[in-house]
Every structure is written in structure tokens, then in C-alpha cells.
Symmetry: C2
Amino acid sequence: MIDKAIQAITEPRRRDILHLVRDEELTSSAIASHFDISAPAISQHLKVLEEAGLVVVRRAGTKRFYGIRREGFAELMQYIESFWDHSLLRLKEAAEEEERRKHGNNEQ
Amino acid sequence: MIDKAIQAITEPRRRDILHLVRDEELTSSAIASHFDISAPAISQHLKVLEEAGLVVVRRAGTKRFYGIRREGFAELMQYIESFWDHSLLRLKEAAEEEERRKHGNNEQ
DNA sequence: CACTTAATTAAGTGTCAACTTAATTAAGTG
DNA sequence: CACTTAATTAAGTTGACACTTAATTAAGTG
């Protein structure tokens, strides 16, 4: 799922869509009105975002309201954070390495 | 830059590369040895990651050591967080909306 | 049920980016 | 300087994916 989420936010128009629905639920056609690409294109983007767990749909008659799915972004954040956290370890080691180098060792 | 960073982490092999260099600096060839794609392919991936600000290079003779660049991931996290934070607002509004609906209103 | 509205699915097309091999750059070593 | 090692740049190929228009599904309304 994290794979799909990252894949999903890559496409710039999908990020624009996410910005639009970030603060309020919008229908497919309301979203489409903000772009100059066809409605089916928007629909396809929404499908990708939904399958990535980044948006949710709420049906109301013939309309479908799309909105942000916070859990999806939580997963994404955790993923990004994992690089940050692990690299802290490396940073510590690098500092020690630096220390050793100052004292006359050559790496490799 | 955030565009490039997101673009960069989309490609699965680049994420694998990031995992490899997350805890220790590695040379291009050391990284390449973990995959069954050609060295130039790895080199091209590393270039993308560097231009996205996600890795840094340290030259040492003919070797080039690649490692994580934490600031790049910080930017990424902030971007993802922005969706999370803003959606909190929406969540609050949604709760109020829900309240209104219970009291007999129909949305649209 | 015929018609409208909202949106999707289907089918086909063009572009781009992830690879390939070959050639080149760059640093070091006898 | 010739040779080796490490890595990149160059040039060309292929597949995926973001579009398009046309057709279809689904819900509601006279």
C-alpha cells in the first residue's frame, strides 16, 4: 500500500487534486472543473488515489464526494520518517568516524 | 525540489538504494552489486537521488561514497504533514456537519 | 419508462523514463 | 605514459502511464 501511495503522489495533477480535497469534500466534476483535462482523466486519477488509500469516497445519489483519508498520509509519514530516524544512527557513527580520521586514519 | 524528491522516491529501485545507504555510505559499485541491473543504471538512479537532495556524495580517490541527506527527507516530511494538518481542520468541520445531518438536514 | 445528470469503464495513442551497450572521463599505480 | 579501476555520459530501445473519445453504468426525475 505504501508503494501505491508513493506512486500516487508522484503525478503532479494528483497532488493538485489532493490539495483541492484537503480541506473539503468535492465531487469528481467539481474537481474536474479546476483542470483543463477531461473528466475521465480526473476519474482515473481519483481511482489511483483511492486505491492508494489517500482519498475516500462518499456516495450521495449520483454524486460521489471525495475527501482526504488521513490514515493514508500517516503511513506515508511513517515511511519517510524511517529514513530520518535510521540516518540519525548513521550520523552518530559518522561523527565517530570523523573523529578517527582526524587522528590519522585513512578510509579505505 | 519537493517535486524532484517525490519523483525520486517513486521508483522502487531508488527506494531500495535509499535503504542501502540509509545506515552507511556506499560506493556506486557496492550499491550496484545488490542489484541485477547494470552499473550505469545505478549511476543514473544516484544522479536522480542527488538532484532531488536525498543523497550526498563524498569523493575519495576514484570512488564516490553515497549517503543519505537528512534535510531532503525533512522537506518531504513537511510536505506530507501539510496534508495531515490541514485535514484536521476538515475533520472538525465534518464532525459538525455530521451533527447537523443527524438533526434532519440533507447534504445537497 | 424515456430522459438527464454524474461518473466510470473501455479502447486506443503518444510521451517519457528506466533500462541497455558502447564510449568517455577521472584518479591512481607500475 | 600505458594500464587499471571506478564511475559517468551518450545514444538508442521498450514498456508504462497519462491522456483522448466513445460507450456504459447508475441514480434520480418527469
